[in-house]
Symmetry: C2
């Protein structure tokens, strides 16, 4: 049987430990092509490079695996992979990550990792973004691997509804202490920003963005709660942002 | 009566004609504060600046109106406005645009204009992103103004459901030929990318992204159809990306 083709990407850059762990698991299932940014791109959201050229270089980083570093954003990586490198091939699955740090709740909006996964889903490719709740450069991805394996296998066997992607977050727990997988909704949480003021050597003021993640959503069915309880959270997500309920209440606007 | 405070931003940059038109209409209704990028930021999506300092400079561009240009992304502009400039004031409305070019359908995902509007809605501010279907630098925004006026007035009078923002697109038609306003859903359309290959003076290959917008959604209730029919489209949108229908069909995953 022909092996499925799996596209691997991320936003922490092609040298991150998280993508190496993801490649190790994904390569158990199929032929792998890696296209990832040549430098960290966290917080890049769904940015695309319109006003600058984009470059793509083949690299020899993962034994026996075709890998390319890209000067563009995570979304650029997926677009280049689909339209240049894999133009005439059917991509069975796109996996993005494993992100160093949470992409639960509203982080899906800001995350380059999740935006890359969303771009793949827009292109009709079943797609999963994986994140570990550990920002450390040397985070331990070993306890994540069994869950990454289970979820990849599930999608390859059962497919994924068109227009859907999965936002998967994994608690920072030792091997054996993760309790299982929970399918959840996105918690209605948010960042409360603070800006640190400072002055450059020429006396000009600048700001550094920082912030606190605040969850006021007390629901038991959210990704944040599942992670707190020691579960891997899976939020089936989509790119249709229409608020269908609100359409009804706004029908009066049609009179104008 | 105290005038409402209205935050104005965009992604085409503070010198664009579209933001000037928006300021002209918004200032009929309230006190205006403008915070916009110091250079064009189209296609920036929901990117935030995490690894670089951000600067904010007061500028004297619009008579009698407080205006600031920002070195960051459109989302940075909203975060800085809310957390630094307007820290202790209640913002009644955020308006973003008027964008030079369509943000209908899937463009909401890529657009800095719409991401700025979404960021405001995340902060609890009623929020509207306006776009004119004319990419030209010298686009004529006069025919848009009556509709911008109607929609701003509606939100100031009736409020907006929490967590919602409006994606408003305006057809490129002469004054008097726009037929009215239609409340719609986001069309299920997409970009089919092409990459133009070229070589730099050192013989290194690079790519320019380009593409064609393809709509395969034949529904009569979409924003694309409303615009084709000569209407202003209003899509009530949201930042909860959960695919609630898919949650049910994935319950089996909870067994792992």
């Amino acid at each position: 049987m022909k092996k499925p083709l799996i596209l691997v990407t991320n936003d922490d850059g092609i040298n991150a430990a998280g993508i190496k762990a993801l490649i190790e698991v994904a390569s158990e299932f199929g032929d792998i092509v890696v296209v990832a940014p040549d430098s960290p791109q966290s917080g890049m959201g769904h940015a695309v490079t319109l006003s600058n050229p984009i470059r793509l270089h083949e690299v020899d980083l993962f034994e026996g695996i075709a890998a390319y570093e890209c000067t563009g954003t995570p979304v650029d990586c997926v677009k280049l992979a689909k339209n240049i490198l894999l133009k005439d091939r059917e991509v069975a699955l796109c996996v993005s990550g494993i992100n160093h740090g949470s992409n639960a709740s509203i982080n899906i909006i800001y995350s380059g990792t999740m935006s890359a996964a969303m771009e793949a889903s827009l292109e009709g490719i079943p797609s999963i973004g994986f994140s570990l709740l550990d920002y450390a450069y040397n985070a331990n991805f070993e306890p994540s691997k069994p869950f990454v394996r289970t979820l990849i296998q599930h999608v390859l066997e059962h497919g994924m509804e068109h227009g859907t992607l999965w936002n998967v977050n994994i608690p920072k727990l030792p091997e054996g202490q993760i309790k299982g997988i929970k399918v959840c909704r996105q918690a209605n949480a948010n960042w409360e920003e603070e800006f640190v003021e400072a002055f450059d050597p020429r006396g000009q003021k600048y700001y550094w963005m920082t912030g606190n993640f605040v969850n006021k959503d007390t629901g038991e069915d959210t990704d944040i709660q599942a992670l707190r309880d020691g579960y891997v959270s899976v939020v089936p997500s989509m790119h249709d942002l229409t608020n269908y309920k609100a359409i009804q209440s706004l029908k009066g606007l049609n009179a104008f």
